[in-house]
Amino acid sequence: MVIETSDSTTGRSSVGHTAGDDQSGDPVARVPVTPDTDDGGRSERPEVASPSLAAVVTARADSTAPTDDDVKIDIEGLNVYYGATLALSDVHLQVPSGQVTALIGPSGCGKSTLLRSINRMNDLIEGARVTGGVRLGGVDVYDRRTDVVLLRKRIGMVFQKSNPFPKSIFENVAFGPRIAGVRGREQLSQIVERSLTRAALWDEVKDRLHHSALQLSGGQQQRLCIARALANDPEVLLMDEPASALDPASTARIEDLIFELRGQYTIVIVTHNMQQAARVSDRTAFFYQGLLVESGPTVEMFTCPSQQRTEDYITGRFG
């Protein structure tokens, strides 16, 4: 496998990503690693064959996935409009606590919209309107009395394109805690170190914390964004195609990371890469043209989906 040496430090031991799996199942991983290759993962999808996906998920099935079935995010009859167009209609979805839920579906089906309506980032979009209910651990997200700032503190978000602030690495990670009122330099340093460690970035940047974050590579920047979100100590992590602009090696590191973070965080990840969904997620939800077609445990979704459309999409027959 052509993955940079540093990759071994995170120990992709858990499941589904042993060298053997990569050889058989993941065409992406065999692409020679060139830094900053755009779209490393997405473009390969149509060639993915279903048997290997099934192999990937069954390998994952006997992993030590948390079996905590508390519902963390409860979406009931959610509709989202952009102006007059309905982007999501009547979505019912329960996201269990401590697990990784993957949102899949063709471009424009509303995955990002759903993600944004969980932490109310849709508020920033002119003309966006939300009806129906989203509850986060019992709190009604769209209640008038809900404090958006407190809500977003509980929900971290990682964007498709890494967007570090044009400041130092330290300042990037310290920003969240700082505006939340953490003042002591010592305390901030601790939070920064802990977050960077959790995001598997500490060793690479510990000697240059005060250099500009924009000097980091694309993959490092994305992990910095994850560290920045973790510094707020959120309960939920929303990730919108976090690896779509990264090369295979960086993608693998991000996946490792997601694997390590599950259990501690409830993670919702949007991905166009079926392999990725199969590898990292416990549950999968398939969207099509603003509708939730099907959702369930990833193993079932990838081995015996109940809807023809799901199967067609997963096996790459359309999308």
Binding site: N119, M121, L124, E126, V149, L150, L151, R152, K153, G156, M157, F159, K161, N163, P164, F165, P166, K167, S168, F175, G176, I179, A180, S212, A213, L214, C225, R228, A229, N232
Partner: protein
């Protein structure tokens, strides 16, 4: 036969094309050179006339009816006062307005209306602002401004530069990527924190440049200040915002309209001082942009 004619005309066409090409290049070069030549000629004339009058006492004396004793102290200090105050007012109001329009205003219609107004105001001749300043600040608010004072002048000049400052600041704010704002909001920042910690620092170099360039325009303004009542016979330095004042352009205007040749030369010397100061402010703009640009680590 047709073949022969094309063979015949081809070189001629080519020669013609080359000639057109060549003459266009010459024309453009002449256009460039003419502006440079005019500038150099003007500078030379001014230096030739005025340089002899430049001396320390020229900077430290008040104006006088005797050319050899006349200086620009009151005008110089008045100009500095005026620009300092105008800078403060226009930055506070201009940046505030730009932030409101770009970051807060939600109502599309209201925003469009204000925007249209600002663009139009930027094109209003400065003398019109002078009349507004006379009515509003000198007469209307005379209890606050002290009538024909530095404060009235600065407020009037603020009106002159405000539209440009607002537009330049808006452009600088708009150039800050949306993704930065998203990142900040997603980290549970309030709007104020987002603007203060991320948007303003990123937009600062652009705003600074806009502010300083428009201030250097204000530095050379005479028309609105004549109306607001700056007059050239002032023989003291303003010691407060409510004192009377004069400024360099007005001093220059007053001297150059006198019949004696000496006063015209004095005017040229004062122009030299004005030019040096303009050069300094523009240099400051470049410097600040460079410094700030690096600190932001964009």
């Amino acid at each position: 036969m047709t073949a022969a004619s094309t063979q015949n005309s081809a070189p001629r066409q080519r020669r013609w094309r080359r000639r057109v090409d060549q003459s266009f290049e010459w024309f453009c070069m002449a256009a460039t050179l003419s502006s440079v030549v005019i500038l150099i000629g003007m500078l030379w004339a001014i230096i030739h006339e005025g340089a002899g009058w430049l001396s320390w006492s020229f900077l430290t004396n008040y104006t006088s009816v005797h050319p050899e004793k006349a200086g620009i102290l009151s005008a110089l200090v008045g100009s500095l006062w005026l620009i300092g105050l105008t800078a403060v007012f226009s930055v506070v109001v201009g940046v505030g307005a730009a932030v409101y329009l770009e970051e807060y205003a939600r109502d599309i219609w209201f925003k469009r209306l204000v925007q249209l107004n600002i663009s139009n105001l930027a094109g209003v001749p400065s003398i019109v602002y002078g009349i507004l300043g006379l009515v509003l600040f000198v007469r209307g608010l005379s209890s606050v401004t002290g009538g024909r004072s530095v404060l009235s002048g600065a407020l009037t000049l603020t009106l002159v530069v405000l539209p440009i400052v607002i537009i330049a600041s808006q452009e600088a704010l708009r150039a800050v990527p949306k993704t930065i704002r998203q990142a900040s909001y997603a980290l549970a920042a309030t709007r104020w924190q987002t603007v203060w910690h991320h948007v303003l620092p990123a937009a600062m170099p652009g705003m600074m440049t806009g502010v300083i360039l428009s201030l250097s325009r204000a530095f050379g303004e005479a028309a609105p200040l004549i109306i607001v009542g700056a007059w050239a016979q002032v023989r003291f330095v303003p010691s407060g915002m409510r004192d009377e004042f004069t400024v360099l352009p007005i001093q220059i205007f007053e001297w150059s309209s006198r019949p004696q040749a000496e006063f015209r030369e004095l005017a040229a010397a004062a122009i030299l001082v004005l030019l040096v100061m303009l050069l300094c402010t523009n240099g400051l703009a470049v410097f600040l942009r460079y410094r700030y640009g690096r600190k932001v680590k964009w």
